[in-house]
């Protein structure tokens, strides 16, 4: 397959693994955070951790958009979805994220009209086809999916569709990274930057990590040799005493991002003063709200939602997992009470959540931990 097979070449992977071993100082334990859930998924799917030396540890970051949605927002979604006039649309993974008393899938089973869509465009089509119903799109995701929501809202306005609205939960990646760097219980040597977020925002926004925190960043692709090469580039920076933002994923990521996408985001969305993240708490200017100019398409204004903050379940340690403080298998309920079939925490829901990645690919790593 074009653009794929070249980046799954085992010989290249082995050569990179060798290079990483040569670069890693045996006297230092490296901790590298992969920001994005897509990387976490690739790392476990292809067993990349097994190719790395024991002293190069990959720490999983907060970049799974499903994993970071707090319970209170799911409750708000349920409140909208249960209204008889509403067709509530969302991506598949969101249907299984637990709220306080149910998931959207439960609500659907109880009679709510909840439908899975693959894009906001699908939701807009439903609105066009059902003019007597209110169609609401549950918008989640980072800067990769936010342009899609924004363009759909612009399209809805242009077509004069008035029964379409958006429950906006879009978030941005830079503020949680800054919050993580301020976290006292986390020591990192560098970051693998999010590849596809960077197609939109470019490489520049990650400059604060080397500038303010002296942590190098390599923006990385998602295929196995992409990730291996990025680790290699990061270790090279550390070995040479450099600290900067580098772009491994040049075949996709332009340094300046996509200015059209940034313009569209600025037209439709504004930063919220605060937004709550699962496990990370409230982070300033980390969430996107719909601008007043598009308030007619804002589901939070069209329908009154409870807006209550709900604490995470006590047994769930998604917060520590999202911050990379613990590995998924160190959580008390991992693989017992919390599985992909019956998730307690969000990290077990999405295929890109760290817990689901560990569970699905059987990478419990307990033996390795016990031996070491």
């Amino acid at each position: 397959m074009r653009f794929v097979s070249e980046f799954r070449n085992p010989e290249l992977g082995r050569a990179l693994a060798h290079q990483i071993r040569e670069l890693a100082d045996p006297g230092h334990h490296y901790k590298v955070m992969e920001v994005c859930g897509g990387h976490t998924h690739s790392i476990y799917k292809y067993g990349l951790e097994d190719l790395l030396p024991d002293n190069v540890e990959l720490v999983h970051g907060p970049g799974c958009p499903v994993c970071v949605i707090p319970m209170g927002r799911v409750d708000d979604a349920l409140d909208i979805a249960r209204r008889p006039e509403v067709i509530f649309t969302c991506f598949g993974d969101m249907m299984r994220v637990p709220g306080s008393d149910a998931t959207l899938l439960h609500a659907k089973a109880e009679g709510a009209d909840v439908r899975m869509v693959y894009s906001p465009l699908d939701a807009l089509r439903l609105a066009r086809e059902n003019p007597d119903r209110q169609v609401v799109f549950f918008a989640v995701g980072f800067e990769t999916t936010a342009p899609s929501t924004a363009l759909t809202m612009i399209r809805a306005r242009a077509e004069g569709i008035t029964n379409f609205s958006v429950f906006c939960n879009h978030v941005t990646i830079v503020p949680p990274l800054r919050a993580l760097m301020e976290s006292p219980d986390l020591r990192l040597d560098g970051f693998l930057g999010p590849g596809h977020v960077s197609t939109v925002v470019g490489a520049r926004p990650f400059g604060f990590l080397p500038a303010d925190y002296k942590k190098p960043v390599v923006i990385s692709g998602f295929e196995p040799t992409d990730v291996m090469q990025s680790v290699c580039m990061l270790l090279t920076q550390l070995a040479e005493g450099r600290c900067e933002v580098e772009n491994q994923y040049t075949r996709v990521v332009p340094w300046e991002g996509n200015p059209n996408a940034m313009r569209v985001l600025a037209e439709v969305f504004a930063l919220r003063p605060h937004f709550e993240w699962r496990g990370l708490g409230f982070i300033s200017q980390s969430g996107l709200a719909i601008r007043d100019d598009y308030a007619d398409q804002d589901a939070e204004q069209r329908f009154t939602v409870p807006g209550v903050r709900v604490a995470d379940p006590k047994a769930c340690q998604c917060g520590e997992v999202l911050k990379g403080v613990i590995k998924p298998y160190e959580c008390k309920v991992f693989g017992s009470a919390c599985t992909p079939e019956t998730p307690i925490g969000t990290c077990m829901v999405s295929s890109e959540g760290a817990c689901a990645a560990y569970y699905n690919f059987g990478r419990f790593n307990r033996e390795k931990q016990l031996v070491s």
């Binding site: 693959y118 906001p120 977020v197 075949r251 996509n258």
Partner: protein, 71 residues
């Protein structure tokens, strides 16, 4: 990528799709998503496209045109 296991919509994992047809008027392209699946894709962020162009698509919106496509 393009594998059924992946959630291609909510995450920072895009899908590479090949343009089959493009409607300049609506700005929507019909794309081959692999495995015989066709999807309608918003092209407002990448400008004019032609059949054969390969796009990186998130949530049915093309974010960038991939280098090396048969154009």
């Amino acid at each position: 990528m393009n594998e059924p296991f992946h959630c291609i919509t909510c995450s920072d994992e895009g899908c590479e799709m090949t343009v089959l047809e493009w409607d300049r008027g609506t700005g929507l392209a019909v794309c081959d998503a692999g495995g015989g699946v066709r999807e309608e894709v918003e092209t407002a962020l990448v400008g004019d496209v032609s059949p054969g162009d390969v796009l990186l698509v998130h949530a049915a919106t093309a974010l960038t045109r991939l280098q090396g496509g048969d154009r």
